[in-house]
């Protein structure tokens, strides 16, 4: 991160005036449209689904409750490619509709991409919103009911405002994922800050300007994080952990609730995953399954390693946050978590520059670049935020009185953290590790650039096929990615569900 942030001040940026005048305005505009649209739509889908599942009983509710997290198993770019192959101008379904009606649907464009991204990313909002709705609001909602508020009014006027911090937290993750995407936006022909980074770097051969654009991207994220913090302050936290009593829906309303959830599930997961499944088993493949299995093993290996390393560092950071009261350290910790919103390739450049410098300073006889160790370190830089968030959330719920008591008994901060804080953090640690592992399995650019010789992962396999426009051959490794991500994802869901009661 330090390299990325400081580089623009000493790196020359010969094409900056062009980038500033002819590239940035349109790219910034489309970034904001994409960001706004995606965040808005994820919030609508996520919050509405969470409310239905948490507040009502209707047919299939039990299955829908956990199945609605499934879209998170699909990497955004894979879902985007798959949607294009179905609903693009020459996609399978579009051709069929065109033959029947003469109308030609084309999802490839800005509005289409907003929908596709929202359908994959909405669980980031759905999960925390569901948790708050299910267990945190019973008293307030009862009060509203007694005052005569109807269901929709209770939802909009009571539940949503009270769940706002949770919703905004999820929305910020959605925003960061949207900002760092390169594959999907490029294919859909959208100009974003991330494509501007690449245009400056690869097109204009001007790394200096590219890094300046990356800084702008970071500023946007800082703005988002500031918005998230503001939404937490002055808000009454919903605290009573009493499970909500669900209201039974009947007749038309029950049917509508079921149809809504099914629609979200089908379009967010079943349709793209089904298409992958179909392609994986209809395409002529020779011995590539063997390569995919080795890639699977590598993927699991780096996911485990990265989760372990990231958790160690994240724990160290939350320890500092807990026991160090100086505000600059808090700022530093927050800066360390910005990596999540930065395009992977930019982080890769930063990490390579740092490693190259160390190589030269230390006079090593080999290079750190291309070692598994450096790759894992790069994952840590990128996904630290994913680990720190749940840890910090859980830690702030622990009362500091206990810390104080331990301190009065003469325990050092380190000992307090290990003996008092850490045991209570266990569920959060597990959750954070799962989240990091999921992200690493789906990650592409860092792995691609920093990997050792002869080292394939599932996502590099998908990329290699997609790159040469053989999307169907990419289906098998893509499907394996989904399968890898499902167990930790479902584990997370169950853990949350248990806390919901």
């Amino acid at each position: 991160m330090v390299v990325v942030v400081t580089a623009p001040f000493h790196a020359p940026a010969p094409e900056w005036s062009h980038v500033y005048r002819d590239v940035l305005p349109m790219h910034l505009l489309e970034t904001i449209l994409l960001l706004g649209g995606t965040v808005l739509l994820t919030v609508v889908i996520g919050v509405l689904s969470a409310w239905l599942v948490a507040a009502y009983s209707f047919p299939l509710r039990g299955a829908m409750r956990w199945m609605l997290v499934l879209p998170l198993a699909l990497p955004t770019y894979i879902s985007a490619y798959t949607y294009a192959s179905l609903f693009g101008a020459t996609g399978t379904i579009s051709l069929w509709v065109h033959d029947l009606s003469g109308f030609r649907p084309d999802i490839v464009g800005l509005p289409g991409l907003i929908v596709v991204m929202a359908l994959v990313l909405f669980p980031y909002v759905y999960l925390p919103a569901r948790a708050v709705f299910a267990s945190g609001l019973r008293e307030q909602l009862e009060a509203a009911r007694m005052l005569g508020a109807r269901g929709s009014r209770r939802f909009l006027r009571v539940a949503v405002p009270l769940a706002r911090p949770a919703i905004v937290g999820g929305a910020v993750l959605v925003a960061m994922e949207t900002l760092n995407d390169y594959g999907a936006v490029k294919y859909y022909g959208i100009r974003t800050l991330t494509t501007a980074v690449f245009r400056s770097w690869t097109g204009l051969s001007d790394l200096g300007s590219a890094l300046r654009v990356a800084i702008l991207l970071l500023l946007l994220v800082v703005l988002l994080l500031w918005w998230e913090r503001r939404s937490r302050i002055h808000r009454q936290q919903a605290t009573d952990a009493v499970p909500m009593v669900r209201q039974r829906l009947t007749g038309k309303r029950a049917a509508l609730a079921t149809i809504w959830c099914l629609l979200v599930l089908v379009s967010g997961f079943l349709l793209p995953a089904g298409k992958l499944l179909l392609d994986a088993f209809t395409i002529d493949r020779t011995d590539t399954w063997a390569i995919d299995l080795i890639a699977l093993r590598n993927t699991l290996g780096i996911a485990t390693g990265a989760a372990f390393l990231t958790l160690l560092i994240a724990l160290f950071l939350v320890f500092i946050l807990r026991h160090e009261r100086k505000s600059w350290t808090h700022g530093l910790v927050r800066a360390a978590t910005l990596g999540y919103a930065v395009p992977g390739a930019v982080i890769a450049v930063g990490v390579m520059t740092a490693a190259g410098t160390i190589d030269r300073q230390a006079g090593l006889s080999f290079t750190l670049i291309g070692t598994i160790g450096l790759l894992l370190y790069a994952f840590t830089v990128r996904f630290l935020a994913v680990a720190v968030q749940p840890l910090q959330g859980s830690l702030t719920r622990q009362h500091s009185n206990v810390d104080d008591a331990a301190r009065m008994l003469g325990a050092s901060p380190g000992r307090i953290f290990l003996r008092v804080n850490l045991p209570q953090l266990r569920p959060a640690i597990l959750a954070a590790a799962m989240l990091v592992a999921i992200d690493v399995v789906k990650e592409l650019p860092l792995t691609l650039i920093l990997r050792p010789f002869n080292f394939n992962t599932l996502s590099t396999r998908v990329f290699e096929m997609a790159r040469i426009e053989q999307l169907r051959e990419a289906a098998a490794p893509a499907l394996l990615i989904v399968l890898c991500v499902l167990p930790p994802l479902l584990f997370l869901d169950r853990q949350l569900a248990r806390s919901e009661g």
């Binding site: 101008a89 740092a354 190259g356 050792p452 010789f453 790159r467």
Partner: protein, 343 residues
Amino acid sequence: MRPLLLLLPFLSACGTPGAAPTDDTPAKEVNVYSHRHYDTDAQLFKAFTAATGIRVNLVMADDDEVLTRMEQEGANSPCDLLITSDAGRLGQARMRGLLQPIRSAELERNIPPFLRDPDGHWFGLTMRARVFVYNKNKVRPEQLTDYNDLVRPEWKGRVLVRSAENLYNQSLLAAMVAHFGTETALAWATGITVNMARTPKGSDTDQLLAVAEGIGDVAIANSYYVGKLMSSSEPEKAKARENLAVAFPHMGPYGTHVNVSGAGVAKSAKHLAEAIALLEFLVGEEAQRLFAEGNKEYPVRPGVAVADVLQRFGELTPDTLDLAQLGLNNATAVKLFDKAGWR
């Protein structure tokens, strides 16, 4: 950066699997950084190992990232041979001091001079041409003899092409800048933008499918994607190609624009002899035939047959522009695209 320092011992313990860190190890191997992701390449490396006993270790990633990686690795870089799919990037690698000059009668005999660096820093392995693909039912081939034809008003709303983000669009415009200067190149980019059938999106293959579907009447696309579509067994693609034909436009008095996929020996190469052996193997007849048949690329070696699916649309007469010009004019081309509004 403190966490990084803490990790140092851990990192060094990991080592570099596959890459021999010191040159006193006698193992016969060659370390390749490649931008090419094709099945044919995997087959070729396997054949090379079978023929010579030299093991090929591979990292596949995008050109610019690979160059940055080599730069940061410096003298310690394990890379012996750099393979890219753009002459411009090879030129850049040379300018950034990442390659070393190689003299090889074998390579010089089998690669025409305009497809390699005059000092031997890099060598073209295959050519890909930027061609027109048109709808047979709506377009006569005489209408499509020059890149400039497509800026005429009769093509308004009929031209399909992908985003300016695409490297091959950039090198096409870079070639125009090299031949005719920025003003003419800008006029062309603007003219095409005006005539586009839709805003640029999707891949080259998507443009071809769109021509077949009548969304536009002519597409600008890379020859090997055309070749692959023309020989695909997927039913939609087989159906699409019934309406399609290929034209090889000239660039004014010059031939059809080509770029190369090529390779250069890294300055840091620890396995110099093996790297040269691999290079020579890749321009050998067997390898060149596989590039042509398996991947539908144009072989650089004279006398090796072009794939039938491409050959039946006519002969490729490549523009013999010094390919280093593509790299030198790439940034200018990107700026012109931005000026023209070609997204």
